[in-house]
């Protein structure tokens, strides 16, 4: 048996990047999409950079955000299910 399991390490790096960096990035895209629309623009001119308004009011933006957030949640759920399956070999 090899001392270093390169295939496991390779998988940890690739899936680690997908889940650990890709999902937060998708969450960020969702936040960005959520902020599209008239309200955010108005808040920006009024409150400057201190505005913490998240919902911009654009319907398309909200739908886009919902899709992003759902993908993130689904990916987490699937990941946990897979880990449970691997961690409990069939009895």
């Amino acid at each position: 048996m090899a001392w270093v399991n390169w295939s496991a390490i390779w998988k940890i790096v690739v899936f680690g990047l997908l889940a650990g960096a890709g999902l937060p990035a998708l969450f960020a895209v969702g936040m960005l999409s959520l902020g599209l629309g008239p309200k955010a623009a108005r808040a920006n001119t009024a409150g400057g950079t201190d505005s913490d308004v998240l919902v911009g009011g654009s319907v398309a933006g909200m739908v886009g955000a919902a899709i992003c957030f759902l993908i993130v949640l689904a990916a987490i759920g699937w990941g946990i299910y897979e880990i449970y399956q691997i961690g409990h070999p069939s009895k």
């Binding site: 001392w3 998988k11 960096a21 936040m31 961690g87």
Partner: protein, 408 residues
Amino acid sequence: MLDKCTLRPVFQKVLRVTYGHTVSNDTVLVLVVITALAFDFTNGFHDTGNAMATSIATGALGPRTAVAISGALNFVGAFLSLAVAATIASGLVDTSDVTLHVVAAGLAGGIIWNLLTWLLGIPSSSSHALIGGVIGSTIAAAGGSAVEWHGLVSKVIIPALLSPFIAALVAAVGTWSLYRISRSMTDGARKHGFRIGQVGSACMVSLAHGTNDAQKTMGVITLALIVNGTLPKGANAPFWVIFCCALAISLGTYIGGWRVIRTLGKGLVEIESPQGMAAESASAAVILLSSSFGYSLSTTHVATGSIIGTGLGKKGADVRWNVLGRMAVAWCFTLPCAALTGAAAYGVAYGVGGTFGVVVLLLILAALAGLIYWRSRGTKVDHNNVNAEWTGTVAPPEEPATATTAGV
């Protein structure tokens, strides 16, 4: 909580097993299980910071809410996988060369090292403390040939060396892309939005911690049961073991290791909420993936790697390399020092001999734990001052009642 039906056959079998000393093994077994759960408890409070330090530092969660959520998720996580427990129970030492005295001494070594590093506020690895302790006492008892060196290197040492770098890479990529994507957002909206995301990712780290760290204690208790002949070689952890370990680690987490939380949250880098989210997502992903491969890696090393990575991924972030240097030194020393402590503990247990030897060992352990706790009261860190400005020490200076200028 444990019904007698589960335990009675265990003890009957224990009594039947012949053993080096003329002792009642059930007493020793129970003592070992209690010690293991005590270790699990210290593991919980030593490592709360890994999951929650950055959320507490950015104010995404109140300190006490954070430790409560983390405790609950650690409990759930402990039930998620058994791969790491199998590594510890059957992959590190030759179970036929190990006695209950060896397991007890190994645990004692791990606990002492864990408490010492906690006193100093160093986020060292609880896993390495435990594994080091068990290996040290095994070598003291049966020599180096009883150690499964291949398992130790391929499933513990190599993951320990690589995981912080992988976590740092993932966190740096995550941080860079979060700032890139959110660059058109206002500062206020960005802070608000990523705080929400950070709470989610911190919860994932707590869950991941349960899958990796709670399993180490399950592995040790399973090892003790195998050594005793209660379970066959290569057996999985029984349900009551999983349950007790989950409970002990979540209670420990809830108590909160404020000293370590402070070093991780304030000492290394000043962290904003997008960085906190990137760091925690990276930690959660790396730990969960490694758990499912059965790699007993240090959640502490991963969390530290992620925090460093998130500092590197953002322009102008200031990483306190001297704090990292101090940690890295502690990391290198953890395995050998815990091993020496474990070996010394075996010397005590074996020297005195019998059930009494284990009792003496545990009394010494309790006395040392008490002493360390007493020392820690002098420089208290709790939920009130955990976020105080970093002035180079773990314990913030006393509330400056007389000082006129507060901070720089």
